[in-house]
C-alpha cells in the first residue's frame, strides 16, 4: 500500500515535469490508443504500423528486459498497460496476486488459430484458461560451435567439462541458470527442496571457473562472433544465430529442459480494453503471425500460420518446430512463491560472487 502511494507520488512528479516540458506525444493525447508492454526485440515493428493503418488505433509500445523487471511496474501500478507479454511462471504469479483481468475471447475470433496443444499447456499456469493468449514458445538448450566442439553434444554435463574452460556462456537469469543445474542433477526445475537447491548451487559454483561470462541477450552475438564454444540459449534465438553463423548447432539435452510459453495478458488496471482485444486478435491472425515469425524466429503456437511462411527453411525447421513427443522430460516453470524466489535469488548471488 505504502509502496503504491510512493509510486503514485513519484509518478505524479514525473508526470508534472513531463507535461510542463510538453513531453506528451500525439499518440498519448489521443483517445484511440493501446499501450503494449513486450519483451525486447520480440515483434516485427512493421506490424505495429500495419495495426495502426488497419484500425486507426495508435500503439504506444514499450519493452522490458526480463519478467522480473516487468513485474514491479505492473504491481505498483506506476505504469498502466493494456496488454503485456510475460512468461508462464510470471503469469501464474500475476494471477495469484490478482493483477490480471479475464480476457473476453469472443472478441478474439482468431484465437481459433492457436493450436489446442498450446492452450492445454497454458492451463498449467492458467488452469481455467481465462487470462492468456499464447504468443511464442520454445525450449532452453545448448548452442554450440561445430568447429570448436567435435564430440557429440547431448547432455548438460558438457557445461562442466574442463576442456571448455572460458568457452562457456551461461544465462544470467536465476531460473534458467538453476534449471540447467537442477535438471543436470536429475531434479525438477521447479524444485522447492532446499537440499536439491543447495546441491544445484554447489554445482553452479563448481562451474564458475569454466564460465566465460554470465549474460542474457549477448549469448546470441557472442556465439555468432565465435567468442565462445558453448552457450545456453532460448530456442528462438538459435535460428537467427544459425542464419548468421552456419557453424552453430542447437540441441535439447537428454536430461530434459524447460518448455516455456509466453502469453499476452491484460492487467487489471488496463484502460483501453477494447483496443487491447483488437490488438491481440490482430496478432493471432494467421498472416500476421507468419510475418512476425519470419522476423523474430521464435516458435509460434499459431498453427494456421504455417501455410503463410514463405521461407521454406524456416517453415520446415526442426529447431523452430521440433517434434516434442521425442523428448520426455520437458518441464514448464511454475511460480514458486515469494519465499522460494527470495531464497533462489540469494543463492544465485552466492554463485555470482563466489
Amino acid at each position: 500500500m505504502i509502496k503504491k502511494l510512493i509510486c503514485v507520488v513519484l509518478a505524479a512528479f514525473i508526470a508534472i515535469s513531463a507535461s510542463t516540458s510538453c513531453g506528451i506525444s500525439k499518440a498519448e493525447r489521443s483517445e484511440n490508443v493501446v499501450y503494449v508492454y513486450n519483451a525486447g526485440e520480440y515483434i516485427d515493428p512493421d506490424l505495429l504500423d500495419q495495426f495502426t493503418a488497419e484500425t486507426g488505433i495508435q500503439v504506444v509500445y514499450d519493452e522490458f528486459e526480463s519478467n522480473e523487471i516487468m513485474y514491479p511496474k505492473i504491481e505498483s501500478g506506476a505504469a498502466v498497460y493494456d496488454v503485456v507479454c510475460p512468461s508462464d511462471y510470471m503469469i501464474e504469479k500475476m494471477i495469484k496476486k490478482d493483477l490480471l483481468q479475464p480476457i473476453d475471447y469472443s472478441k478474439i475470433p482468431n484465437i481459433k488459430n492457436i493450436g489446442d496443444y498450446y492452450i492445454e499447456q497454458s492451463r498449467s499456469f492458467d488452469p481455467e484458461h481465462k487470462y492468456t493468449v499464447p504468443y511464442c514458445w520454445g525450449t532452453v538448450g545448448i548452442l554450440y560451435n561445430k568447429t570448436m566442439v567435435s564430440e557429440k553434444v547431448d547432455s548438460w554435463d558438457i557445461l562442466w567439462d574442463e576442456k571448455y574452460k572460458n568457452e562457456i556462456l551461461m544465462q544470467d537469469s536465476v531460473r534458467d541458470a538453476f534449471m540447467v543445474s537442477l535438471m543436470d542433477l536429475g531434479y525438477s526445475c521447479n524444485s522447492l527442496d532446499h537440499d536439491e537447491i543447495e546441491a544445484a548451487t554447489e554445482r553452479l559454483k563448481a562451474q564458475k571457473h569454466l564460465v566465460q561470462a554470465y549474460v542474457v541477450d549477448q549469448v546470441r552475438d557472442k556465439m555468432i562472433g565465435n567468442e565462445a564454444a558453448l552457450g545456453v540459449i532460448y530456442s528462438g534465438e538459435a535460428l537467427y544465430t544459425q542464419s548468421q553463423n552456419p557453424d552453430l548447432e542447437y540441441v535439447i539435452p537428454k536430461e530434459g529442459t524447460n518448455l516455456w510459453l509466453d502469453c499476452w495478458v491484460m492487467p487489471k488496471n488496463a484502460k483501453n480494453v477494447e483496443n487491447g482485444l483488437k490488438f491481440l486478435n490482430f496478432l493471432c491472425d494467421a498472416k500476421v503471425a507468419a510475418k512476425n515469425f519470419e522476423y523474430i524466429t521464435y516458435s509460434t503456437p499459431n498453427e494456421a500460420c504455417r501455410d503463410y511462411i514463405e521461407d521454406e527453411d524456416l517453415k520446415n525447421s526442426e529447431t523452430a518446430f521440433p517434434d516434442l513427443s521425442k523428448y520426455t522430460n520437458l518441464e514448464t516453470y511454475h511460480y514458486l512463491g515469494d519465499t522460494a524466489d527470495k531464497y533462489l535469488n540469494g543463492m544465485w548471488r552466492e554463485v555470482k560472487s563466489y
Partner: protein
C-alpha cells in the same frame, strides 16, 4: 554574508523558487523515500535488518571488492592525470586548452557506449587480440576479470581527475615557483614544497570525483566483468530490479551513502587544513 530568507527581496525569492522545488522534489523527497524503505520491512515496520545485511558474506565481499577496485582505479587515474595536467598547464600555454579539450572530448559520448566499445576491444576475438595474433604475439585475456573493470573505471572517469587538477595548476601564480627558484630551490624542491601543496584542492576534488562513481558503478562491472564479479552496485541494482526487494536495496544504498559521506568528510578536512596552511 548570508541573509535570512525573509529579508530577501521578492525578486530574489522568485529566482530561488525553482531551485527550491528542484531540491525538494528530486533530492530531499527521494532521499526520504530511500531512508523509509531502508529502515522498513516488507510490511512497513521498522527494522535494521536491511542495513545490517551489509554484513552478510556476499554483500561484505562485494563491498570490499568495490572498495579495492575503486582505490586502485582512483590511484591509477591520479598517476596518469597529474603529470598530464601538469604538462598541459605548464608547457602548453595557448595550445593547452586544445589539448585539454581533446581529453575531455570522450565525455561527450555516452559512457555506456564507451564501455561496450572496450568490451569489443578486449574480447577473445576482439580488435586487440586480432591484431596481436596477426603478429603472432601472445593474446591478452583480461576481459571478465577485475583488471578489465579497473581499466573501464580509469577510462570512464579519467577526465574527472584531469579537469580539476588542470584547473588548479593553470591558475597557480608562476611567481611562486620563480620565487622558490630564486631562493635556491631546485626543480624537485619547488615541485614538492610549492606546486604540489598548492594543487592539493584540485587533486582532492579529482579523487572524490573518481572514487565515488567507481564505488557505485554497476554498469562497468556488468559489461567488462562478464557478470562474474559482483560489486556492491550490482547487488543493489539486482535487489531493485530482479528481486523486487526495494527494502534491502535501499538499506544497502544507505550503507553506501555512509561510505561516500565518510570519504567526502575526509577529503573536505584535507581541503580545509590545506586552506589554513596557506
Amino acid at each position: 554574508m548570508r541573509k535570512p530568507w525573509k529579508s530577501l527581496s521578492k525578486k530574489t525569492r522568485a529566482l530561488a523558487a525553482p531551485y527550491f522545488v528542484w531540491s525538494v522534489g528530486f533530492i530531499i523527497i527521494p532521499l526520504i523515500i530511500i531512508f523509509f524503505y531502508g529502515f522498513a520491512d516488507a510490511n512497513g515496520h521498522f527494522t535494521l535488518s536491511n542495513v545490517a545485511s551489509i554484513f552478510s558474506h556476499v554483500n561484505l565481499k562485494a563491498l570490499i571488492i568495490s572498495m579495492l577496485l575503486s582505490f586502485l582505479s582512483t590511484f591509477v587515474c591520479l598517476l596518469i592525470a597529474y603529470p598530464l595536467a601538469y604538462i598541459l598547464a605548464e608547457f602548453g600555454h595557448g595550445k593547452s586548452s586544445l589539448f585539454a579539450f581533446i581529453f575531455i572530448l570522450p565525455m561527450w559520448m555516452n559512457s555506456l557506449l564507451r564501455t561496450i566499445a572496450w568490451q569489443n576491444l578486449l574480447e577473445k576475438t576482439g580488435l586487440i587480440n586480432t591484431i596481436l595474433s596477426f603478429f603472432h604475439l601472445p593474446t591478452m585475456m583480461i576481459i571478465n576479470t577485475p583488471w578489465a573493470i579497473v581499466l573501464g573505471m580509469v577510462y570512464d572517469f579519467l577526465p574527472f581527475m584531469i579537469l580539476p587538477i588542470y584547473n588548479t595548476l593553470s591558475r597557480l601564480e608562476i611567481d611562486y615557483a620563480n620565487a622558490a627558484r630564486d631562493l635556491g630551490a631546485n626543480g624537485w624542491q619547488t615541485f614538492w614544497k610549492i606546486t604540489w601543496p598548492l594543487s592539493l584542492p584540485g587533486v582532492i576534488s579529482g579523487i572524490t570525483m573518481v572514487f565515488v562513481p567507481s564505488l557505485t558503478t554497476f554498469v562497468i562491472s556488468d559489461i567488462l566483468g562478464g557478470g562474474k564479479i559482483l560489486l556492491i552496485g550490482n547487488i543493489i541494482e539486482q535487489l531493485f530490479t530482479q528481486d523486487n526487494d526495494w527494502n534491502a536495496g535501499a538499506g544497502l544504498s544507505i550503507v553506501l551513502m555512509i561510505f561516500i559521506v565518510i570519504s567526502m568528510i575526509i577529503t573536505d578536512k584535507y581541503d580545509k587544513e590545506d586552506a589554513t596552511k596557506k
